[in-house]
């Protein structure tokens, strides 16, 4: 059971607002690892790293979006970009029966030896989102249309909470149905509602959040999500999982978002990025477009997200490249030094980190950025938009968001036969999980 973005302090230290009860007992009897996520610690590629056993560099997947060299626009990765065999593909090949639900990115669905329901990147319930294709008819009959995601960056928190619970119930009904009605040897279920609850309601839940606020309804949303999962899991466990090895895992953790930092505005101030329009003539929150950039005087530009990707306007690679290849190394290193010096809004020291992909991965495939940037150890979210009066934003430039990702998630293994030694087992790298799961599956 994958609980997207669940941090160790929630599952292991009881910081769950009273939400987990049965699961807490299971975890108590489990081998408990603190899972160290990948670079970058983002849903895509993190789940894929877990189930492929290789790094984002080897997968050639560094986030949801990527850019072909020479193009400004981006493309979105989907299951067809995954070229490394996954845990379930290998298990299928060995003849094991598979149940797969909500694992990102599995849309468009590929055949498995069993059943597959795709994830939150699915364009809509009118698309072929299951394997076998007719499975979707069966699911819609028992639960109505499949809900893949919700729009959670909204001020209308009551609507967000309503949608969140509706989506969670929709998933729970479907997973329970499949787990009970289908024959399976390996079932993987990833629940994205946990991550959505964290992003939308973390500041009402985490008392250490800089903008913590108690609210009689909103403060109970995250514990209620945990509670519903807990009750559902208890019922399922008692009915069908009693003799199964149960693994509870997350892809990364979560922590309070301190604010957002406008990376492209900063690049412009530092002379790396030249905009055609004057700064005060651009509306706050404007997306950086290709025609806004004076490419003849631009050295680098960036993307926002939970981490920032920086691209060098390299001659011979980019359409209007100006940085001579012989100056590439110096440019990258200068930019790295400058980013490392970025401080907080009150001049406070930040724990920034800047990596070249080849420093992180044994192989760099696909369309990697020139630099990968984490601001203040992920606490400040890089914002790609421009036109803001300050480089420091108290909110996400994409709408309300209470949380950013954190490096550490969970990985707990419960074996009813006691073959797995219970207790705290220290750190596990996310890329090592597949090997461990295969040991459990094949002995």
């Amino acid at each position: 059971m994958g609980l997207d973005s669940l941090p160790p302090k929630v599952l292991y230290q009881g910081f769950d607002g009273g939400g987990f009860s049965f699961l807490k007992n299971i975890v108590e009897e489990s081998a408990r690892y603190v899972l160290r996520s990948c670079h970058p610690p983002i849903t895509i590629p993190a789940w894929l790293v877990m189930f492929s056993g290789v790094s984002p560099g080897e997968l050639g997947i560094y986030g949801f979006r990527h850019r072909k060299p020479g193009f400004f626009d981006y493309y979105i990765v989907n299951s067809s970009y995954v070229k490394v065999p996954t845990l379930w593909e290998e298990a299928s090949r060995r003849g094991l029966r598979i149940g797969l639900y909500g694992v990102p990115p599995t849309y468009p669905p590929k055949p498995v030896n069993g059943v597959l329901v795709t994830d939150f990147t699915t364009p809509g319930p009118d698309k072929p989102y299951t394997f076998p294709p007719w499975l979707r008819r069966e699911l819609e009959r028992i639960s109505g249309f499949t809900i893949f995601d919700i729009v959670y960056r909204s001020e209308d928190k009551e609507r967000v909470a309503r949608d969140l619970f509706r989506m969670l119930e929709n998933h729970l009904v479907q997973v329970e149905y499949l787990a009970k009605r289908r024959r399976w040897d390996l079932f993987i279920y990833v629940e994205i509602a946990v991550d959505r609850a964290h992003h939308a309601f973390w500041r009402y839940f985490d008392k250490e959040h800089p903008r913590y606020e108690y609210h009689p309804v909103y403060s109970n949303v995250i514990p209620e999500v945990y509670r519903r999962l807990d009750r559902w899991f208890e019922r399922l466990f008692k009915e069908v999982l009693k003799n199964s090895i149960v693994v509870v895992a997350s892809d990364h953790g979560v922590k309070a978002m301190k604010g957002a930092f406008t990376i492209n505005q900063w690049l412009a101030e530092q002379g790396y990025l030249k905009l055609r329009a004057e700064k005060d003539k651009v509306k706050p929150g404007t997306e950086l477009r290709e025609d806004m950039v004076d490419w003849s005087s631009t050295i680098a530009w960036g993307w926002g997200g939970y981490y920032s990707r920086i691209f060098i306007n390299l001659k011979g690679r980019e359409k209007h490249g100006v940085v001579e290849p012989k100056y590439y190394e110096d440019t990258v290193e200068q930019l790295r030094r400058d980013i490392m010096k970025i401080r907080g809004p009150c001049g406070e020291q930040w724990r920034n980190a800047v990596y070249r992909p080849d420093e992180l991965y044994p192989v760099v495939r696909g369309d990697a950025p020139d630099l990968m940037v984490y601001l203040d150890d992920l606490s400040w979210r890089p914002a790609g938009t421009i036109g803001w009066p300050s480089n420091y934003l108290s909110e996400n430039d994409r709408g309300p968001d209470d949380a950013v990702h954190d490096w550490y998630g969970v990985f707990a293994v419960y074996d009813p036969e006691g073959t797995v030694e219970k207790g705290d087992r220290g750190l596990i790298e996310i890329s090592y999980v597949r090997k461990l799961l295969e040991e459990l599956l094949y002995g």
Binding site: F64, Y74, S80, T121, P133, W134, N396
Partner: protein
């Protein structure tokens, strides 16, 4: 849909019996006719294939990911 919008086709009885059993056991379809229509629609979908993503779908996903703040 009017009846005149429908046509009759013939399939092997053995296959029909199998399909009938499938409908009864699987539960997602109310008749063999519904199953056959669904499968033909899937096979003859205008998209390149069930296992690739069209440009239009990619744009939909981009829009969603933007609304979700991922990109």
């Amino acid at each position: 849909m009017r009846m005149s919008d429908k046509v009759q086709i013939s399939i092997a009885r053995e296959l029909y019996e199998k399909a009938k059993r499938f409908v009864e056991e699987q539960g997602g379809f109310s008749s063999v006719e519904e199953l056959v229509e669904f499968l033909l629609r899937e096979v003859l979908s205008e998209e390149e294939s069930s296992y690739t993503m069209s440009k239009e779908d990619e744009e939909k996903v981009k829009e969603r990911l933007r609304a979700l703040g991922y990109i």
